[in-house]
């Protein structure tokens, strides 16, 4: 019974943990503009994160080596440093976006401008990093994030033309009158939102924190293969709700209020409250994951003691890094910069940083020194290479598309 409980918790926290401010904003924006015509990009992204999270989980369970450690082992200090700078900058930007997201959620709930909340949020996040147990933190925010499912319920309640939604979902081209480059730009953004680098840094380092062993491998596999796709469904629900409520009115999503509108329309204030609660939990959870990931990446590159399993006094450099990153995030949001814009920029640069992160994972998952007898099978390798090909294309296309379409304008 206890085992079943832990197992269910794992799946649920994977679902809630998948969604962050990047997924929320990009899916709502895209849903309001293209309907479900870009669902395929989310699906490809979810397949990608599943394949690589499973590989990195397997490597951790057998060898105890988290992803950033692999990158340094496999590509050496020079190339790993290039990747470190890129991933670190992107993760810091993503952290900034989450802090902004949390502040915006509280702003909607209280109608007081979000800049008021930024510093208290920073302090609260730091206290959680400093004191709270790793798995309690993971579970609490993952589970609370599940309330985003209110968008799926709202969709069912609003009872849209399902046939029409279905037709949008299977069309692989932009709706009439929409330019192809902009459509592709949003495809890259959605793909990057599903595959953001911090997710594998955090997932694999979390595995070390929780002390996974080879016997945990099957549980982890189910967490990944159930949790992430269900998390992807939550993202798609946000897009579908936007497609039903915002698209017909021609709303161009610019603020978080617009994103929560479908839930409010279906269930009034209660719906709004549940949606905001879900967003709050998801962004707080993601902010913690990003902040810790900044520390994980740096500590693993240099071989510092890291993580919540060692006392902060033993991991002084790790804790100093996380605290500094939270401070930088807070200061950036405090300037009053639009958090939605920060989110979009962070996603574009995520796409660029992806290849150097995932290639070493694929190599290590084939190396018996790292995974013993559990080396990749044909399916994992086939999917891994296919996803890596998409990752390379997205990385190359991201910046030109951003410039060409002026950030999807």
């Amino acid at each position: 019974m206890r085992k079943l409980l832990i197992f269910t918790l794992g799946v649920f926290s994977a679902i809630g943990g998948f969604v962050d401010i990047g997924d929320i904003v990009s899916n709502a924006t895209v849903g309001a503009r293209y309907g479900l015509a870009l669902v395929w990009a989310v699906v490809v992204g979810v397949i990608g994160i599943c394949v690589f999270a499973e590989m990195s989980g397997r490597v951790v369970a057998v060898s105890g080596s988290p992803v950033y450690s692999l990158i340094r082992d496999k590509v050496g200090p020079g190339a790993a440093l290039v990747n470190l700078i890129a991933s670190f900058a992107v993760t810091l930007l993503t952290l900034t976006a989450q802090i902004g997201g949390i502040a915006l959620v509280i702003q909607i709930a209280t109608t007081i401008p979000h800049v008021v909340y930024v510093a208290p949020i920073g302090i609260a996040l730091w206290l959680i990093v400093w004191r709270v147990k790793f798995d309690s933190m993971e579970r609490a925010f993952g589970l609370a994030g599940l309330t985003i499912a209110v968008f799926a319920v709202a969709l069912w309640w609003l009872d849209p033309d399902w046939g029409d939604l279905g037709r949008q979902a299977v069309s692989l081209s932009p709706p009439p009158g929409e330019a192809v480059p902009t459509y592709l730009f949003y495809a890259v953004v959605l793909f990057a939102a599903a595959m953001t680098p911090y997710e594998v840094f955090f997932f694999s380092s979390g595995g070390v924190e929780e002390g996974w062993k080879p016997s945990d491998m099957s549980t982890q596999r189910i967490n990944v293969f159930l949790g992430f796709p269900l998390g992807g469904l939550l993202s798609i629900a946000i897009a579908a709700a936007a497609a039903v409520v915002l698209l017909p009115r021609g709303v161009d999503v610019k603020t978080l209020d617009q994103v929560v509108e479908p839930a409010a329309l279906a269930f009034g204030t209660a719906g709004l409250a549940v949606a905001l609660f879900g967003f709050f939990a998801a962004t707080v959870g993601a902010a913690l994951e990003c902040g810790l990931s900044c520390g994980y990446a740096l500590a693993q590159y240099f071989g510092w003691p890291w993580g919540k399993r060692v006392a902060p006094a033993r991991g002084a450099r790790f804790h100093a890094t996380v605290a500094l990153c939270l401070l930088v995030g807070v200061l950036i949001v405090q300037t009053g910069i639009d958090p939605i814009m920060v989110t979009e920029v962070s996603l574009v640069f995520s796409a660029v940083a992806l290849p150097l992160t995932y290639l070493p994972v694929l190599i290590a998952a084939n190396d018996p020194d790292y995974v013993g007898e559990h080396v990749n099978g044909r399916l994992s390798n086939g999917l891994g290479l296919a996803v890596l090909a998409v990752v390379f294309i997205a990385a190359i296309a991201a910046i030109p598309l951003m410039i060409l379409t002026r950030m999807g304008a």
Binding site: S69, G78, L81, F134, Q300, G303, W304, A320
Partner: protein
């Protein structure tokens, strides 16, 4: 054929350099940033020590990265001399290099120590792992 740590062939870059160095509890204390070699009397060259620390890493980094690495080392009161771990202190080599407790204590990072003493260790709760 003679072996070392159970291996017949040890490719120094592929198998040892860049790996994490851990103490007997598995807590990392650095990475193998370089190796110290010595010419023996018979003319052969042997590996005598692991070197760790940003100063040891510098020769292996591209030039543009040096400013950045040195600035970050100064941030924690460094740069410090590379720490040297004699090869006899290695107890096991797999995806990480494990060393004896005594060697780990001798090779503890000075910058970690300074940061702990001056800032992090003074914050309440610093001595408790959150587990």
């Amino acid at each position: 054929m003679s072996t070392w740590q159970g291996r017949e062939i040890v490719d120094l870059l592929t198998d040892i350099i860049d790996r994490e160095i851990v103490d007997p509890e598995g807590v990392p204390l650095g990475r193998v940033d370089d190796l110290e070699l010595r010419s023996r009397d018979d003319g052969r060259t042997e590996v005598v020590a692991l070197l760790t620390g940003t100063v040891a890493l510098e020769p292996r980094l591209p030039r543009w990265a040096l400013t950045l690495i040195r600035a970050s080392a100064r941030l924690t009161g460094g740069p410090d001399d590379p720490r040297r771990i004699p090869i006899e202190a290695i107890t096991k080599v797999d995806t990480v290099v494990s060393i004896t407790a005594a060697a780990a204590a001798a090779a503890a990072s000075p910058s970690e120590e300074r940061l702990k003493r001056k800032i992090i260790g003074r914050i309440p709760g610093a001595d408790h792992a959150s587990e």
